[in-house]
């Protein structure tokens, strides 16, 4: 009994469809005229992106390109996510390399790292809030970034540890016997063999922190990242196609950013 090829293809197509369904409707609705979120769409317009504001409308009706707060939040999101990506990349790499060898407390330490994603977001957020209150520390860019780092590191760690080349340790030992200094071994032997996992760790860090709301909301100040900003806006303002326009813009820009980032990273590390 073998499942026929067309069923396999259909199944994978359906999965991709489920994943993409929201995105398709976000893009469609962003071009809809009128403030209602309803079907059928009678007329398409660019108003929600471009229309110059009169100065009298509510925030939810100001077109996207004229909304300054939106762009401030977008910039915050980018900086937080890029910092999270770089920190996660470094931490995942050194941690995964350290975990290869037997050592006292290895299991305990491994589960401690996993705890970052095993703890529900609201619990972490509340706890970090308590600590900062107790120490009288202000929330900042760094607290928002670091609370995300502990969340994304386990994902990268599992990915990298699952895919280590079984011979990597032997190659490293061979180089060490030939008296290569440790940093040279890392640059010339270890890194080229794990480079895809290193890049994946960075990409995962970027993506997961980009979408995080709950943890970030507990550990930020001011306008926050894009997710927390839109979350607040949706709580107080009516729902208009503007937020769908925001979604379309974010997806387009961040998809490009994501490609450029991955490309640059591959290039610099290869050199």
């Amino acid at each position: 009994m073998k499942i026929p090829d067309f069923l396999v293809k259909t199944y994978i197509a359906i999965i991709i469809l489920i994943i993409y369904l929201p995105l398709v409707f976000v893009v469609l609705l962003s071009f809809k005229s009128g403030a209602n979120i309803s079907f059928p769409i009678e007329r398409f317009t660019l108003d929600w992106y471009l229309k110059p504001p009169t100065g009298y409308e509510y925030a939810a009706y100001v077109s996207l390109f004229h909304d300054r707060q939106f762009f401030a939040a977008l910039r915050n999101s980018f900086t937080v996510s890029i910092v999270v990506a770089l920190m996660a990349m470094a931490l995942v790499t050194i941690t995964a390399l350290a975990f290869r060898r037997r050592m006292a407390g290895r299991n305990f330490l491994f589960y401690l790292f996993l705890l970052g994603f095993l703890t529900p977001g609201v619990t972490v957020g509340l706890g970090v809030n308590f600590l900062f209150r107790l120490l009288n520390l202000p929330f900042s860019f760094w607290s928002a970034a670091l609370i995300n780092v502990i969340y994304v590191v386990p994902f990268g760690l599992i990915l990298m540890m699952a895919r280590f080349d079984p011979n990597l340790l032997f190659y490293e030992q061979a180089a060490a016997v030939l008296k290569a200094p440790p940093l040279m071994i890392f640059r010339r032997i270890t890194l080229p063999l794990i480079i895809y996992e290193v890049i994946s760790a960075a990409i995962l860090g970027f993506l997961l922190s980009w979408g995080e709301v709950i943890r970030t909301q507990f550990a930020m100040k001011g306008i926050g990242t894009l997710s927390t900003f839109i979350n607040t806006q949706l709580g107080v303002n009516p729902l208009t196609p503007k937020w769908y326009a925001a979604g379309t813009l974010i997806s387009a820009v961040s998809f490009l950013g994501f490609l450029v980032f991955a490309y640059l990273l591959t290039r610099t590390v290869r050199q």
């Binding site: 090829d5 999965i15 995105l23 409707f25 790292f113 703890t119 972490v124 308590f130 600590l131 979350n231």
Partner: protein, 283 residues
């Protein structure tokens, strides 16, 4: 052996990660437990009490909240497993070209770039009363009044499926792609029936991935109080309750509920990890 870097080096490499975890995870969680036993959030004049726990466990709402919280997350994890396992299986054993596989994985990643909120409101034009599903149902005269598809428990499951499916597919795919093809071939040569090859070899060896996937989805949905509050017709979940009490500065009671949340979720995870050693996925 002199060629091997000293063991102390390993601990030094772990140090930066452990420092971040101590400050942003371990100390905050311990602090939460301590505060959950306090009358007020005050360390200058602390009064310790178990009143918060008595209040929580005797509240008439508690059984419903606990059932909602863990029931919905468990259901979401199982649905994601049922949908995600075949996808991971097909990707590993039926798609031969590595390029196509990587393409599919990248395709699955892209929607993660949409903002989280926007991904949630995206369902209004699909399932809302004036959304496309209702439009089509009325257009083809299947129903005459818009049906309420949003704001039900199943809507929550669909939304959670969309946003968590990747967390399920990926670890299973990782586990499946580590299975030695010779094992499967050997079983086939020895005329083992297909369902036994699948169960005894493929499924059992993929269990670490299944457990990691279940854990991802379970914990992710457990900590997400915003989606249920928006989409599930106002069902109460523990995370939402924590957030509400925290927003009203009732710190100790929020800490109590937060402690219960993490204790029960850790208990579930310990049971899962006892059944299957997930470290097999990384060794």
């Amino acid at each position: 052996m002199s060629t091997r870097p000293p063991k102390i080096m390993n601990y030094i490499l772990l140090l930066p990660g452990l420092l971040v975890i101590a400050f942003f995870l371990v100390i905050p969680l311990l602090l939460t437990v301590v505060i959950s036993f306090m009358q007020e959030f005050s360390f200058t004049n602390p009064i310790f009490t178990v009143e918060n726990y008595i209040e929580f466990f005797t509240s008439p709402q508690t059984p419903t909240i606990l059932a909602n919280t863990f029931g919905m997350s468990l259901l979401a994890s199982l649905v994601a497993l049922l949908v995600g396992y075949p996808a991971a299986y097909f990707m590993t054993f039926r798609i031969k070209s590595i390029k196509t596989r990587n393409l599919i994985i990248s395709l699955l990643l892209v929607p993660f770039l949409i903002d989280w909120n926007v991904r949630t409101i995206a369902w209004i034009p699909i399932l809302g009363e004036s959304g496309i599903v209702n439009y089509l149902l009325q257009y083809f005269n299947i129903v005459h009044q818009p049906v309420s598809l949003l704001f039900s428990r199943w809507t929550l499951i669909i939304i959670w499926l969309q946003s968590n499916l990747l967390f399920m597919i990926f670890p299973i795919y990782l586990a499946l792609s580590r299975i030695d093809p010779d094992l499967i071939n050997a079983a086939r040569v020895l005329k083992s029936p297909p369902h036994r090859v699948f169960y005894e070899i493929i499924f059992k060896l993929s269990l670490p991935g299944v457990i990691v996937g279940l854990t991802f989805v379970f914990v992710n949905t457990l900590g997400d109080y915003i989606t249920p509050s928006l989409w599930a017709g106002g069902i109460q979940v523990l995370g939402l309750s924590v957030a509400n009490f925290a927003a009203n500065f009732v710190w100790p009671y929020a800490a109590t509920q937060s402690t219960v949340l993490i204790l029960i979720s850790l208990a579930v995870l310990v049971i899962l990890f006892k059944i299957v050693d997930i470290k097999k996925l990384v060794e």
